[in-house]
């Protein structure tokens, strides 16, 4: 499996503990880049600036990616632009919130 896919796969395991939905389905992951030295750069956001789970989720992203064999470095870029919106969620996440 290609490394970008592997990173995305492990990020499905990072769950927002308040909503009970993983951060990929929530639409928090904007971009995953892999450089030639197997360094990973993740550009992501949170549902709101000042989310109390800020450190937990960002730390969780780093930890999850380091579990992949051969990863040299993880760089998590937290951005607020473009701002998160409900349209970024997957149909599965939307359905879970409606329950």
């Amino acid at each position: 499996m290609d490394l970008t896919k592997q990173v995305e796969e492990v990020l499905y395991g990072v769950i927002d503990p308040d909503l009970g939905i993983n951060i990929v389905d929530l639409g928090l992951i904007y971009n995953i880049e892999i450089d030639e030295k197997n360094g990973v750069k993740v550009t992501m956001t949170l549902t709101t600036p000042g989310c109390p789970l800020h450190d937990s989720i960002v730390g969780g992203v780093e930890s999850a990616i380091y579990f992949i064999d051969g990863i040299d470095k993880v760089d998590v870029q937290l951005v607020w632009q473009p701002a998160w919106s409900p349209e970024k969620m997957s149909p599965k996440a939307k359905e879970m919130l409606m329950r």
Partner: protein, 417 residues
Amino acid sequence: MVSNPGLAKKSETNIKLPLSFILFGLGAFVLSQLILFLNSDALSNGIFRLPELLMGAHFLLLGWVVMVIMGAMYQLVPVAFLTPIWSEKLGFIQLFITGIGIVMFSLLLGFNLSHAVYGGIVVICGILLFLWQMVMTLISQEQKSIMTLFVTTALFCFLITIIAGLILAWTISFGLSLNYTAILHSHILLGVAGWFTLLIIGFSYKMVPMFSLSHGFSMKWSKLAFFSYTIGLLSLIVSFWLETSVLQTIGWLFSWIGFTLFALDMIEIIKKRLKRKLDRPFTFSLIAIGYGWLVHSTTVFLSIFSIDHQNLWSWLTFIYIISWVMFSILGYLYKIVPFLWWTYKYSGQVGKTKVPMLKDMINEKAGTLLFVLFTAGVFGLTIAGLLQNKVAVQLFQGTMLVTSILYALSILSVLRK
């Protein structure tokens, strides 16, 4: 590695600090309910200025509400304002001084009223350290918002409240030829409506959208709500000193308008939520907004029709503190404490292993039952108090005592998860 440090800097406070304030608060809460229960007779007679009731009231307001708010602010300010606490060490020093001061002051109010001022001075030292901490923290906030305005004004009101409180205690101990009634009314108004209400409103603009995952809301009334509410407070203070009933009615009206505008913003936020099923304790905090609005509406009604029955206003103040201020706090604590403990125990394990969800940390069903009991206790107590029915007052205050013990145990149970 986390880049973009301006936005992604560490925002969590050492949980021992907020948690210590909250645990102190829970103890003071149960103690205050016990004191009020043991003095049910005085409550049913509507005599609120007895030493024992002053002791119970200050354990409730300073020991429980103020300490829990301080603890919550140590956790919420860094995350909501994206600004770390200025000095955690100062936080622990402030916790120690304020805690000792509150116990001293409340006990002196109950057992040695003429020396209460000495306890009051210690409390004030602790609170001034807290205010200094918050000012230094908020100054470093990069982007100010309407929330900053509400919170800084609330902190200013808190400062005036404690100064007025000190003057009252000083007057009791040494005598001062000042307008005691005007100072007392200003102390109560600024403490309850200025400090508590403005603070809860300010944080609600952050917490309600966050807990309901609301999106696309406008907050269009927030500025008007702030100015209307503060104009209302100012009018009321002036009316206490000039003893003008017209200005007092205007004051109640403006504060009602401010609160109503805030409530309208909250309704819009809830309507635009993505999370369909809200957590039950959070719903309880939202219901508290309705209670607050009802009390504000009643003040306008009573003021317009010049109904100034002392007993009625005393119970109205009581019901405002409990049903709006305290119920908001009771609901939010069911979110804050599990979050604090979860962060302490599981935050570092996210992405490495399966961790519990926040709602697994606390028994929400038991919480709902407690909230229903609190509601029955408060409203039953108020009606019994207004009817001056001793047995019913004792029964409902007993309900409050038992429920407060169960509530404290339910919060403590989180720490075993």
